[in-house]
Amino acid sequence: MRHVDFSRNETLVALVILAFCAAATLADPAFLSMPTLTDLLRGGIVLGIFAVAALLVLISGGIDVSFTAIAAVSMYSTAMALNTFAPGVPWGVAFALGMTIGAGLGCINAVFIAGFGLPTLIVTLGTLSMFRGFMLAFIGQKQITTLPSGMREFGRMMMIRGTNPDGSFYSLPLAFAFLVGAVVLTWVILHRTMLGRQVFAMGGSLESARRVGVNVKGAQFFVYIYVGALAGLAGVIHASMTRVANPFDLVGLELSVIAAVVLGGARLAGGYGTLTGTLLGVALIVLVRNSLIVFGIPSTWQSVAVGVLILIGTGLPAWQAKRAAARAA
């Protein structure tokens, strides 16, 4: 049996999740049930895909705040385009279109970051406002309530469906499979390909990576295009699940997503991060958002709780690292 390492973020977050669930079950025995679990998983789909994308960027040594805008633009233009030109196509086409638009927008990020060598935070701050501004000014501002039939159909597809003894329903949408797919694909890329090693190397030290022969520009192009495609996917899934394409949705989530990823142990400085930690971070944030009410804490205090969580979750390891550095010096 492996030794449990308490200095790792993953362990800490997992323990906090367990403690939260235990306390919630004591407060309300109905907490421990299928509906809670499926609600948690459903709430984590879009956030989870975003988080996987954000993790990849953080590992590569960058930071991307534009992915929510990419998702919103992909979602909205896909729904708009299909409604206008091909309302009857199957959902696969909508997904492909959304991911293509996302990848295209990610490519714009990559041109500025890899091509012009600009700082990633500044570029993505700029493109966040450009993409969103372009959509709202030139594509549209009204929410689309009648989605193309393919997306509507996808929104109704479930992996698991069931009824509790007390008569309440629970279900897990098929969209969850896409989160699993994104996690598996990203894991394979990060840990089983040369490209993944290069992404880690870049995040560790860009200059060293360049000197050992990593094609830094190529790898950066891959990262931002891949992240754009994932964001496009998340956008289309979001619209399918909520049954509406609202151009004002999603943007504003970016910092919470990055916080979830860092909570899970990824370093803002780059070069380190795990998918397990990322998913645990997302789970904790969704859990707090969904279930704070169990403890009788009104929902107005929700953002305070998430803020405290971010400060403690990132503060403990930061403090430990600081003390370790002080001891070493």
Binding site: I63, L125, L136, E207, A259, L268, V304, G307, L311, A318
Partner: protein, 337 residues
């Protein structure tokens, strides 16, 4: 000789920005001369920009140390709400004369105190506990906003004495009061950064934190003071917003955060620390305001403005990176940011 002057002119980001500001002003004046150049428009611009300009000064200060303060808008709203709670509780809309002025002063001090405590909180999290500034202020910003929502239940607070409006809407000898406040703060910041030991330390720390530590600088105290000041600037911005809107609400000015970061970077502040000047920020603020008002008059939607802001930010960064950061990075080899 002439070439040399020209080279010197484009060598500093502030000079380039001054050129951009003048060009934007000229283009807007040319496109709608009778409206853009009207006294009415010029004064309305002078009333509009101080609130986010004050936030940009806070951004300048924290970015100089290589940090960032994402909680300024949260601090602004929380301070304004505390001030508004005091004003509505002790001096209703009927209050006039000395009593009203007294309560306004109390409310202002309370807001500044809230800003200082919030800033202190950020400073301790960053300097003592070693949190990355982005995450520390992101988390604390959520907390401040959350407390503001909890205090008000999410609705707007209204019903202040008439004098409150002076801070945001009044004039002194024809000059808008918020503009005077901003000018004083900008001058104060320029003095602080350029003429005091504190300012020098801030820039040295931002240029090379490790060297600053080895030079026996009190880094912890320095960072705490930086974020404390940033919080107090946030509180002042919050008071101006409250006075202009004649109300206080937990989600006012949420778009100002991006705008403040954008203005600081546009003003030539290096987001990795060590370089940034007040004059650059002032020029960037003016450029943004000219663009905003001008485009507004041309009937361009708010959202297209967002598109143009983002484009401008990236354009200026490309120019700055090509001309400024690169030669400097080549001059001193070291860990690239």
């Amino acid at each position: 000789m002439r070439n040399l002057n020209l080279a010197a002119l484009v060598a500093s980001p502030e000079a380039r920005l001054a050129v951009i500001a003048v060009v934007v002003f000229a283009v807007m004046s040319a496109l709608s001369p009778d409206r853009f150049l009207s006294v009415q428009n010029l004064t309305s611009m002078a009333f509009q920009f101080p609130e986010f300009a004050i936030l940009s000064l806070a951004m300048l200060l924290t970015m100089l140390t290589g940090g960032i303060d994402l909680s300024v808008v949260g601090i602004a709203n929380l301070s304004a709400i505390v001030a508004a709670l005091l004003l509505t509780a002790f001096a209703g809309p009927e209050a006039t004369g000395g009593a009203a002025v007294l309560w306004l002063a109390v409310a202002l001090l309370a807001a500044l105190a809230v800003g200082a405590v919030a800033g202190l909180f950020n400073g301790v999290a960053i300097a003592v506990f070693g949190l990355p500034p982005i995450l520390a202020t992101l988390g604390s910003g959520l907390i401040f906003t959350g407390i503001a929502v909890a205090l008000t239940g999410g609705s707007a607070l209204m019903g202040f004495p008439g004098v409150v409006a002076f801070l945001g809407n009044g004039t002194v000898l024809g000059v808008p009061a918020p503009l005077i406040l901003f000018a004083l703060l900008a001058a104060g910041m320029a003095w602080l950064l350029g003429r005091t030991a504190f300012g020098l330390r801030v820039q040295m720390y931002g240029a090379n934190p490790l060297a600053a530590r080895f030079a026996a600088m009190d880094v912890t105290g320095l960072l705490i003071r930086v974020y404390l000041l940033s919080g107090m600037l946030g509180a002042l911005a919050g008071m101006v917003v409250m006075s202009r809107a004649n109300s206080a609400k937990a989600d006012y000015g949420s778009s100002y955060l991006l705008l403040a970061v954008l203005i600081a970077v546009l003003g030539g502040v290096n987001p990795y620390g060590g370089y940034g000047r007040v004059i650059g920020v002032v020029l960037a603020v003016l450029t943004m305001q000219f663009l905003s008002s001008g485009l507004n008059m041309l009937g361009v939607s708010n959202f297209a403005r967002e598109l143009i802001w983002g484009g401008l930010l990236i354009f200026v960064m490309i120019v700055n990176t090509r001309l400024v950061y690169r030669p400097r990075a080549a001059a001193k080899p070291g860990p690239s940011a």
